[in-house]
Amino acid sequence: MECALDAQSLISISLRKIHSSRTQRGGIKLHKNLLVSYVLRNARQLYLSERYAELYRRQQQQQQQQQQQQQQQQPPHHQHQHLAYAAPGIPASAADFGPLQLGGCGDAEAREPAPRHQLHQLHQLHQLHLQQQLHQHQHPAPRGCAAAAAGAPAGGAGALSELPGCAALQPPHGAPHRGQPLEPLQPGPAPLPPPAPAALCPRDPRASAACSAPSVPPGAAPQAAAAASPSTSPAPASSPGFYRGAYPAPSDFGVHCSSQTTVLDLDTHVVTTVENGYLHQDCCASAHCPCCGQGAPGPGLASAAGCKRKYYPGQEEEDDDDEDAGDLEAEPPGVAPFAPCKRARFEDFCPDSSPDASNISNLISIFGSGFSGLVSRQPDSSEQPPPLNGQLCAKQALASLGAWTRAIVAF
């Protein structure tokens, strides 16, 4: 009756449950999926806090070593030759950041029987998480602990909050901060992922009082050693570099906007096309979405109305997304970028036939954003870094839009 009560296995178990709920008779059970999402959130929170703790420890060691080396005037040696991520273009630091490195041992993969893609997706989940922090720092969420924790990137010694479930980790002293792109150049200590992990408060995400992360002004001075990286301007502007470097080549994610899934909101009967796990119209609306060219700055929810097909033709119904659209003040983009959306038709809907890997990836990206009340609803894609990778664009869009329930329903 023993089971591995570690966060990573819980996350994979939970995702498997959600995934299999798609095919269960009787449709998606809202109650069960909600409970599983709570477990997922709790496990993710613990996992991330553990990883950050590990990274912090490692960062400390590396800094000490670096200082010793500098004092001894020895040539710097690469700390990251043992990268598990061999994808070209992956900066050492980012790979160090990956799940295989985090956790402190190369046998992480051996220990974890889950397929490699799950770990990869955990990494993506983590990246998504960071991106949320960037948003929240820029635009403090009106609710949620994440807001409180978002202001804790720089300075101070890293400290794990003792509050149950709230781990407002701060990056170690002198670590590079948000806005510090992770370039493969520096041989020195790996820059930490810029912001602290979100302090995900248990139970009531609105109880921001439970999270005590001191807020720090953005754009704190980056670590000198890692100054090899280019800009150090406040987060969003420079985070493009971070993400540009951090993500594997787009080819790893397959063709952008290639696979489609259709989601149906049970109540409003709005059919929306979701591609590669994100809302196509939002991706296209992003200014830098590669497939759709230039679009409106915002996620373009309001403008996406044209892409959403009402289930009953001729009936215009309020969509849940209208609230998000209202927040955004997005201008409607040009017609051209949405041409691909119009191809999506309900009749074309086919059950997702991709292998499990991409399904789970979709689910993770959805869940990364959709934990009820945890993430800020501020979409703010206008300040998003222009990602080269469509997958990241997807995650960002979803981070703000969520609607995991809608997506689940369609699954």
Binding site: C3, G27, L30, N42, P202, D267, S372, A403, W404
Partner: protein
């Protein structure tokens, strides 16, 4: 009926000696999914016992009249009627299959010779009329005995048809179908004390119906957030107050219960009372949210108390005190350390029901390994009993069972790791007037009675 509980001093659960009475259902090891019992309910008099299963069928048992010539068949329950209540459906518009599993059955109080009950699956509620036919008219003028029409020219005389007895035939016919009112899965129905209205609750909404009107229902609770991202809790159960026709409660997945008064406003989103026990922060775990989710809520017969069942405990609340329950009974606390495994095998999502005894002196709920637990509220004692074929000798007393949590296992105790989690008792019912209980163990229905002392 024989046994205590009728009048005078009500006996507690532990003053009685529970004995096996009957078991219904197949004995095979392989249980067909469709035969798994999904709901059990006595009617108001206790003479009828209805069960619903995953295959959409309803089986009604009727209690035999006590017979001097057969003293041993002390009120046995025998099959009275069987009918297919719900069929599997497919919602083509949403590409969703609708299970035929009967989620709940609720009886209506008897008003004439026929019996009425409401049965529901995930989406549709049906009102069934169960009526007996034990006489047949013979001697019609216009048709002959086979039913064929007689040639009018051959009719030369008139006669009055006479009623002749026939074998009892019980017919079930659907009288009302209440459909298309729920987007999410219906988890509860509850008949109001006015006997004219009833409520149906799904994950996010509660609707009020009139028994005569099928094309309209009123939404009285709506917990759907404007943005589904913000969903944090769902409705798990709802019930009308037994005497006050304007009061109902609904429980949530967050471990809270709300009491609402329909007189205050048309939409009862704001509660009149809010019952929540603060969480103990030291017992926080990954699964805290799951185990605090309330799976069942039941008013006491008196209407003064209500009982909520969450995964590990059952709590009795005084309706006048919202801050904490007046009683908390641990059902299977030894499972707290096994939550991770229970999460993996999905058992942590099991929804156990609970029930009051007729006099409200005792409460009962199910557990795993075909165990069920009874708590006597007066004597504060509890007992664990087992529903198994091994203890199925007629009138055999049930022996209390014990689960041992430590390393040293005494004789007759069973260790936590030996529990069979596939044998779970989710549905139990207690006779409204006497000490008869019905316990559903997967595909078998066990009936236990108290021993005549």
């Amino acid at each position: 009926m024989a046994g205590a509980g009728g009048g005078g001093c009500p006996a507690g659960a532990n003053d009685l000696q529970w004995c096996f009475s009957q078991v219904k259902g197949a004995i095979d090891e392989d249980v067909a999914e469709a035969d798994i019992i999904s709901t059990v309910e006595f009617n108001y008099s206790g003479d009828l016992l209805a069960t619903g299963d995953k295959g959409g069928r309803v089986v009604i048992f009727q209690r035999e009249q006590e017979n001097k010539s057969r003293p041993h068949s002390r009120g046995e329950y025998n099959v009275y009627s069987t009918f297919q209540s719900h069929e599997p459906e497919f919602d083509y518009l949403k590409s969703l299959e609708i299970e035929e599993k009967i989620n709940k059955i609720r009886w209506l109080p008897q008003q004439n010779a026929a019996q009425f009950l409401l049965s529901t699956n995930d989406k549709t509620i049906k009102l069934w009329k169960i009526s007996e036919r034990d006489k047949r008219a013979e001697g019609y003028n216009l048709k002959d005995e086979d039913g064929r029409l007689r040639d009018p020219f051959r009719i030369t005389a008139l006669r009055v048809p006479i009623l002749k007895p026939m074998d009892l035939m019980v017919e079930a016919s659907p009288r009302r179908i209440f459909a298309n009112a729920h987007t999410y899965h219906i988890n509860s129905i509850s008949v109001n004390s006015d006997h004219e209205t009833y409520l149906s609750a799904d994950d996010l909404r509660i609707n009020l119906w009139h028994l005569e009107i099928t094309d309209r229902s009123f939404n009285i609770v709506d917990m759907k957030p404007a943005n589904m991202e913000e969903l944090t809790e769902v409705i798990t159960a709802a019930e009308f107050h037994p005497h006050q026709c304007n009061v109902f409660v609904h429980s949530s997945s967050k471990g809270t219960t709300r009491l609402c008064d329909m007189r205050s406003s048309a939409l009862c989103d704001t509660h009149s009372k809010f019952f929540e026990e603060p969480e103990d922060p030291s017992s926080r775990s990954f699964f805290s949210e799951i185990i605090s989710s309330i799976s069942d809520v039941k008013f006491s017969h008196s209407g003064r108390y209500m009982m909520t069942r969450d995964y590990l405990s059952v709590k009795v609340w005084d309706l006048n005190m919202e801050s904490r329950p007046v009683e908390t009974h641990q059902v299977h606390e030894y499972l707290r350390s096994k939550l991770c495994s229970l999460y993996e095998n999905d058992c942590i999502f099991d929804k156990f029901e609970c029930c009051w005894s007729g006099s409200d002196s005792a409460i009962m709920t199910g557990s795993y390994n075909n165990f069920f637990r009874m708590f006597d509220r007066n004597t504060r004692r509890d007992v664990t009993l087992e529903a198994s074929r091994e203890n199925s000798k007629p009138r055999a007393s049930l022996k209390p069972r014990k689960v041992c949590t430590g390393a040293k296992r005494k004789r007759d105790e069973i260790s936590v790791d030996s529990l069979d989690f596939s044998k779970k008792i989710l549905h139990t019912a207690w006779h409204p007037a006497g000490n008869v209980i019905a316990v559903a163990a997967t595909n078998n229905l066990y009936i236990f009675q108290d021993k005549v002392n």
